[in-house]
Symmetry: C2
Subunit: 187 residues, 2 copies
């Protein structure tokens, strides 16, 4: 059983125009349990690029919060469009369990087709490598380094305000506010 | 008596090097009561400039959260060094009560001397115009458009995690994280 005050990082990217180039801002919120924001980390990744895994590993490993972190929560398996995260590598290089939170069951066929169309079919392997998509309550997850039972406990502790864990909801609000001047919509 | 779910905006600026020029990022966090972040607003003001009042009025008045806001909480009376806020004007143009939160009792003599030294003594009037500095618990406030009694209620509802109201504490964490990559220290 996890302590109520478990330290977790929730990660989301910022809004951007599809099919543009450049870097986008990534927000990591450090939470103590499901309500208390303890810190904010940031990095940048390339739109549709290949550096999201290394950028997240760097951001987390150099943080003063690192030693306390018990879980990394991702809002989907990619940042900045198709900059797909290798969650096995992220788990291995940080030694922190990773949970990918997914609102709707992914349309894998469509994702594969889109990746083929933009000549990035190799990225589909990373999505498959992330393991089965499991239903937990009304959302879905993929996970590395943590049992389904423990992942459920973490979601129960952090989904305090909506279907989505609070660290991801808040990362989404911050990212939107910074880029557009006012945060919008749901994580 | 205010409702526990009262909507409040907390405002803080981001770290910058003293005596540099340019604009700095301002973060506004919209809170429901003392724990729930509902939204994030941003704007920019000039370091040691004169536009903080107009920029805050614009940021707040164009926000979708505006109609619900019951209080503006400021972390000190200036943003970006000596870009002093005219809280009477801020209150008049937004029609929202304003509370300036101050950690330590200000050294007014030193402030006046510094403003003279940098040839900005006219700004001292704005600080005087903001009214008396009142002690509330372990911190100090200045206020416009709200009674001392009601200001105390708002502080009681929002100082849930530290001496400083939660909307300001979180605005400070976000501003630090965005600018330096990792948030540091207290608001």
């Amino acid at each position: 059983m996890y302590k109520r005050e478990i330290r977790i990082i929730g990660i989301d990217d910022s809004p951007f125009k599809k099919f543009t180039k450049g870097n986008i801002l990534i927000i990591g919120t450090i939470f103590r349990g499901g309500t208390l924001l303890d810190g904010v980390l940031t990095t940048k990744v390339g739109i549709d690029g290949n550096n999201s895994t290394s950028k997240l590993i760097e951001m987390i490993n150099k943080s003063k919060f690192k030693v306390q972190l018990r879980c990394i929560l991702l809002n989907g398996i990619a940042l900045g469009g198709f900059n797909v995260i290798d969650i096995k590598e992220l788990n291995r290089k940080t030694r922190i369990p990773v949970i990918v939170v997914i609102r709707k069951y992914p349309d894998f066929k469509k994702i594969e087709e889109t990746l083929k169309k933009i000549n990035k079919q190799h990225k589909y392997k990373l999505i498959q490598k992330a393991g089965p998509v499991e239903k937990v309550g009304k959302i879905y997850i993929q996970r590395k380094g943590v049992s389904l039972e423990k992942a459920k406990q973490i979601l129960k502790l952090t989904c305090t305000r909506s279907l989505i864990p609070e660290p991801i909801r808040v990362a989404h609000l911050i990212a939107g506010g910074i880029i557009t001047g006012e945060s919008k919509g749901k994580a």
